[in-house]
Amino acid sequence: MKYKHWLLALWVLIVFALHQDVWNWTKPGPLLFGLLPPGLTYHLGYSVLAAITMALLVRFAWPAHLEDEAPGDPQPPTDQP
């Protein structure tokens, strides 16, 4: 893997670890805008962070070679045991 792919893999691991927000476990407030408890606000933000992470993967690690490896006329799979 290239250097930037290692960085991306590390970033994905960090994002994965950030899911475990133990510090929000028993906090019922304060409510954001009077609507969202801290634990829910955090995970709402986490969903946005996940989308940003995916955008980074698409931008910097897209497997473009797969398009070239997939020709128009496929070979049939083995249809007999």
Binding site: M1, K2, H5, V12, V15, F16, H19, Q20, D21, V22, N24, W25, T26, K27, P28, G29, L31, F33, G34, L35, P37, G39, L40, Y42, H43, L44, Y46, S47, V48, A50, A51, T53, M54, A55, L57, V58, F60, A61, W62, P63, A64, H65, L66, E67, E69, A70, P71, P74, Q75, P76, P77, T78, D79, Q80, P81
Partner: protein
């Protein structure tokens, strides 16, 4: 009754879309089972997401939030927002490429070639098909309950389930994968639009969510719902293994082969977490609101709290439209029926000589016949199992954990050239063994199950905290069994592959061609 009539109109529209897809079909095998691998980026995104937006997501998550609070969003949704698009990115794109290159229609076809073994393919087929059936049954149950609730009991559960089964059966039978894709795309858009309207209207009728949240926070009995006090850290962590199931579900794997180009995946990968947010956040939130509005419901009873909120807080027409949108979600069972039909016709009928003997046309008609058989069996099971288990619990135990535990098999096939059929066999047997063991433990410990809010109890006093029983599940040292099932599957895959002969050179070169870049993504 008016909401139910609106739902019936919606079902008629869905049927029309399915029939319209039938008119576009070419009659070929690839067209019926994979929509001629022609789905563009937006339809692909809406279809893949709609496929996962099920009764489990909508009814199950709000029902669980009712019982356990806001932590359900982190438990089920935000981790899925990372893991599912990641698996689509790593696995889905490669399945698409393999399907296009080698003509695969199912993942079992790939496994048979990759592991150089018929038997392992048949075993994986049997295990995945068995685990899919409960998932389809959940859809039927959701349909029955939805129509029952919306009609105020005028359409009973058994009739609601039958209506859902017939409608789905008809448009899958005629429209095939194209019908499924178009209906799913339409359903996703409908749900997002009408869901937003209903969320606003419920709030207005109740005097604003801020007022309700303030009341919940001030009530010592309910304030725990605004925290994760009713979910243990061990459960919260181990639940992150569940979304690994996504790409092992046959309907998701097959759906990945319908994309026109690999670039069709880009939009899906990036927007998937946001789509999850848009659906799960209101569902979980409404579950909390419902706990305040309708206190005291037990585990299985809380699955229809969204429908109760709709019926009591919106205009009948809006309730009907939203009911139709919820119906759309519970009818995501269409793609599962389609996947099972594809698997039966490709992995069994065609593989064991049917295709060669009877030709492609008969193969397509066999696929259609399987649609009828699967829908009928699922409906009968939905009737037999009514009221026995909550929708969510059923889905977790039988489908999600098992599929998640099979993910190391897929990852090894795609990324580890040294992996072989013996490793795959060991991993699959481990999954089967652990599921049987857990099923037995679940039944054995039913009498010991604590009430909601009480601490887990040891199942065997002599083993300490090894096997604990919570109100809903068996846990291992407090962690969900899915974690140990996944780790065990990966362990057996690696160990047995290393102890047995490597795959043949021809197979390695076929799936890891020397000219291609390394398996992990490169630019």
């Amino acid at each position: 009754m008016i909401p139910a009539i609106v739902v019936f109109i919606y079902l008629a529209i869905i049927l029309y879309v399915g029939m319209f897809a039938f008119r576009r079909s070419t009659g070929s095998k690839e067209d019926f089972f994979l929509a001629s691998r022609s789905l563009g980026p937006w339809v692909f995104l809406l279809t893949v997401f709609g496929t996962n937006m099920t009764a489990f997501a909508i009814l199950g998550s709000s029902g669980l939030a009712y019982q356990r609070g806001i932590g359900v969003y982190g438990l089920m949704a935000s981790s899925s927002g990372l893991i599912i698009p990641l698996t689509i990115f790593l696995i889905g794109t490669r399945l698409w490429s393999l399907g296009k290159k080698h003509g695969y229609l199912t993942q079992v076809q790939y496994f048979r070639d990759r592991w150089e073994c018929d038997g392992i393919g048949t075993l994986i087929f049997a295990v995945t098909a068995l685990m899919m059936i409960p998932y389809v049954v959940i859809g039927m149950m959701g349909g029955g309950h939805t129509l029952d609730s919306l009609s105020g009991g005028w359409v009973p559960y058994w009739l609601g389930g039958a209506i859902v089964a017939v409608v789905v059966m008809l448009y899958v039978f005629f429209g095939g994968m194209r019908g499924v894709a178009w209906v799913n795309a339409l359903q996703t858009v409908l749900f997002l639009c009408f869901g937003a309207i209903a969320f606003y209207l419920i709030s207005r009728n109740l005097g604003g969510y801020d007022r309700i949240m303030a009341e919940i926070a001030a009530d010592p009995k309910d304030s725990a719902l605004l925290t994760r006090a009713r979910i243990s850290p061990q459960e919260f962590f181990s639940y992150t293994f569940i979304p690994l199931s996504a790409m092992m579900f046959p309907h998701m794997a097959i759906m990945c082969m319908t994309a026109e180009k690999v670039t069709s995946f880009k939009r899906t990968v990036v927007w998937y977490p946001i789509c999850i947010l848009l659906i799960w956040l209101p569902s979980v939130y409404l579950g909390i609101v419902a706990a305040h509005q309708f206190p005291g419901l037990k585990l299985g009873e809380s699955d229809d709290v969204i429908l109760r909120l709709l019926s009591e807080n919106t205009d009948v027409i809006v309730a009907g439209i939203l009911g139709a949108a919820i119906m759309a979600c519970v009818m995501a069972t269409d793609s599962q029926i389609m996947a099972l039909s594809t698997m039966f016709s490709q992995d069994v009928f065609a593989h064991y000589g049917g295709a060669k003997k009877y030709g492609e046309n008969v193969q397509v008609w066999m696929g259609r016949a399987f649609v009828i058989v699967i829908a009928t069996i699922s409906y009968v099971l939905a009737l037999a199992l009514e009221g026995q288990k909550s929708i969510f619990d059923l889905a977790i135990r039988f489908g999600f954990s098992g599929f998640a535990a099979l993910s190391p098999v897929m990852l090894a096939a795609l990324f580890w050239r040294r992996s072989n059929k013996w490793g795959a066999l060991a991993a699959v047997l481990w999954v089967v063994f652990s599921m049987v063991l857990l099923w037995w433990l679940q039944l054995y410990s039913n009498g010991l199950a604590p009430k909601p809010g009480q601490s887990p109890v040891p199942i065997f006093a002599g083993l300490g905290g090894l096997f604990l029983r919570t109100p809903m599940n068996v846990t291992i040292f407090g962690y969900m069994p899915v974690m140990f099932m996944c780790l065990g599957s990966a362990f057996w895959m690696a160990l047995v592959s290393l102890l047995t002969p490597a795959p043949t050179r021809a197979t390695v070169e076929k799936f890891f061609p020397p000219s291609s870049p390394k398996p992990l993504p490169t630019t």
